[in-house]
Symmetry: C2
């Protein structure tokens, strides 16, 4: 599939049962074959990273509201946030709520904020778990987490909720940067080895508004964020399938994470967007994985 066109790609995904539309943009169901690719790719990453000895944690798709506030998310990315609200009222208020719903009136103003928000990055819940001293040599954590970004779109690689396989490194600044650099090459090798036309580039997060433009420029200048890009719906604007973030001491300072010698720790993370990698494989090799090149199949479906 050498041409890039959102509509025909989306149509192919639907016609092959790879996705099933739902009423809201960016929330389609993933079919059995799509899910098999997701799982196989995740397993391949796991095999590659096996000897690193990462500790696996699992977090729910919601996170403490206080954490979002503390990390400045509402200042930087308010447009992507998801705040979870619920009903705390009486019997009489519940009847009023029900009447509004049934009348098609706006009922959400009868709700109040809960203690949680949608998790906006799979690594966010990890850091507060490790306040205090790291073991000698630091720590390596892995998570597979659901991430929410409020950016409804018909573009199949831009989902409101998606899964990231992340690795999170905490340790001395040198160790952390070295680890990030090594994984950048490893990630490129992995995706190119699967036949994807992948390349890496320096990148920036989608900071909100005018001030955000400066923050993004600063992030690029400091080379804090890299992405591995693959053309999926456009050749000029390839899709980020993997991203690498060096946070310096942003998280370690917020949560008091220190090296074993009491020095300030740094953190970095990398994450594969599992749906995006899957879509990149489908775009590159075709809608039916049984016809994918043998050297790709043997890696994803080993004997």
């Amino acid at each position: 599939m050498a041409t890039y066109d959102i509509e025909s790609f989306s149509q192919g995904l639907r016609e092959h049962g790879l996705v099933i539309p739902t009423p809201v943009k960016g929330t389609y169901a993933r079919g059995p074959v799509f899910e098999d690719i997701v799982r196989r790719f995740d397993a391949l990453v796991g095999r590659i990273a096996k000897d690193d000895g990462a500790q696996e944690l699992q977090f729910p798709p919601v996170i403490a509201r206080t954490l979002i506030e503390k990390l400045g998310y509402m200042e930087n990315f308010p447009q992507l946030s998801g705040s979870v609200h619920s009903f705390f009222g009486s019997d009489a208020q519940a009847r009023e709520l029900a009447a509004k719903v049934q009348a098609g009136e706006r009922w959400e103003d009868m709700l109040e904020p809960t203690e949680v928000m949608m998790t906006p990055a799979a690594c966010y819940p990890v850091y507060p778990c490790f306040s205090g001293l790291l073991p000698k040599g630091g720590r390596l954590i892995t998570v597979l987490g659901w991430v929410f970004r409020h950016e409804p779109s018909d573009e199949p690689t831009r989902l409101q909720a998606f899964r990231m396989r992340e690795y999170i490194r905490m340790g001395s600044p040198d160790d952390v940067v070295q680890w990030r650099d090594a994984w950048l090459q490893r990630g490129l090798d992995l995706l190119q080895g699967l036949g994807l036309p992948a390349r890496s580039d320096v990148a920036a997060d989608p900071f909100f508004g005018r001030v955000g433009k400066m923050m993004a420029a600063n992030q690029v200048d400091q080379r804090l964020k890299f992405e591995i890009l693959v053309p999926v719906i456009s050749e000029e604007k390839p899709t980020a399938t993997c991203s690498f973030n060096w946070h310096q001491d942003k998280f370690s300072s917020a949560f008091g994470i220190r090296n074993s010698d009491e020095s300030k720790a740094h953190t970095a993370c990398l994450g594969f967007g599992l749906e995006r990698v899957t879509l990149a494989l489908i775009k590159t090799h075709g809608f039916d994985p049984t016809y994918w090149p043998e050297e790709v199949r043997t890696q994803l479906w080993p004997a």
Copy 2:
């Protein structure tokens, strides 16, 4: 562990690294050993159900707001709901929002409802995908989904976000009830075969308020809901680890799902609460799975 006590059980879970506390009740992190049990149990269910030929779909943890409205969730369970709100404002409003967050003032009133809410039951997103005629013999779908219920609690089996492995059957009323009955026995055999003191009982959903009490009584009278219960934090109030719901034509009527002969279809679902089964196994067999009985280990960790 023959005695039942929330505090000592929670402490044991923490001390063995099975869970790691987070700032919000009912959202703890699951550690590597906990996750291994979750995965192994889910794989065992998959092996048992393999020949049924269920089609596997994957949905995100959020669902269309219009669906929640249509299914009457806000009338029946407003206290458990999770409505996702985000920021749609201008640069100037974003500055006002940021100032409120930094001042510790309430900032959530500057948000607006999005198109999505938290998924309150793993089977909900399935039904609208199958409007129209079913194939002859009906359909069988399976999903592993994150479910949200706003009921913050220190009780380790009562989570705000948890995973359900569900099977969903759509077809003729007879087929659907027979399938539900067969799985009720299969579920009991499975859990008892893992050494759990499991028993089944008729049950009701936690409908809200005074009217809700009548709805729940009606649900019990009609024997629409069954649960498989295992004592985890109390012997008198055992924990529901698996639930079976016969919806009659609730979902099929709402979404126009009909049998191949154009007759009205029925639907039923069953779901294993993966965290709850894991906690039941830990409570029954101990905090370290390497010491679990051989006949349990061989089922969960087959050679």
